[in-house]
Amino acid sequence: MSDPKAPQVAIMRSMLGRARGLGAAKSGTAHWWSQRATAIALVPLSLWFVASVIGLLGAPRAAVAAWAAGPITATLLLATIAALFQHLHLGVKVVIEDYIHAERPRMFWLLALKGLIGLMALASAVSVLKLAFTG
């Protein structure tokens, strides 16, 4: 262990930090947890959504608007949108991090993903709210 000829890399870390074995800000598992929490939420929400959409097949816009305008439906739609796009963002983020190694393109695509998914989630939520409040 204490071979003086062993190669060393200078690092900025206190002995107390090493002993405690903690990460930088205890947030290292946030991504993992959020991915699981949204996955669990999407199990019932996606089943409900698919069943609802099959029930609306061939229906005119007015019928879809009346369906989405119900407060419980609107709440579940907003919950589905929130969980779905958060889950999607976390998942594709890892794909980008895995396959794009160069710093600048990786940063570009991570930001592009964040912007695109943020806008898609907002557009969906605004549409649901518009249907809920104005029909």
Partner: protein
């Protein structure tokens, strides 16, 4: 070179910890411990020489279907925005979804959704500590494939019966 490179703790790697490099790629697989000591990391075989297994194929399929479903959310957003815009906009969106290319895409997304759903539940069981042993992981992997086919066929039977 090899003197200071200690093994990383992986069982089959330990024996090679003090040996010289035999593969040039090992040069890139050097990490360091919390006190800055350099260690060798275990190196996975290259994809081209790695025999596909149920576990690895279900894993990459989860990623592929996830990305595919992500592309599919574009149609979901279009449908929702169209419903909140006008009758004409809604008719355009449902016309596309009902066209042959729309139906083909919807069929693909239904299959991808049920695969990602079933394999996702499999992942959640793993997260709770169940089903990690190989015989169970292989059995649940096959069950995922069966569930995908059954749920996809069932969904489209219901769709054609309803429409």
């Amino acid at each position: 070179m090899s003197d200071g490179l200690r093994n990383s703790g992986a069982a089959d790697w330990g024996r090679r910890g003090g040996l010289p490099m035999t593969d040039i790629r090992e040069a890139l697989m050097v990490g360091r411990t919390s006190d800055g000591k350099l260690v060798r990391r275990p190196l996975s075989p290259h994809l081209q020489v790695y025999k596909p297994q149920i576990t690895s194929v279900t894993s990459i399929m989860h990623r592929i279907t996830g990305v595919g479903l992500g592309v599919g959310t574009l149609v979901l957003v279009w449908w929702l925005v169209a419903a909140a815009t006008s009758d004409a906009a809604y008719d355009r969106a449902t016309w596309f979804i009902g066209s042959w290319i729309g139906l083909l895409l919807m069929f693909g997304w239904t299959a991808a959704l049920w695969y990602h759903f079933a394999n996702g539940v499999r992942h959640l069981f793993w997260d709770f500590g169940y089903g990690f042993d190989l015989p169970t992981a292989h059995a649940t992997g096959k069950a995922t494939a069966v569930a995908t086919v059954v749920l996809t066929v069932l969904t489209w039977i219901i769709i054609f019966a309803a429409g």
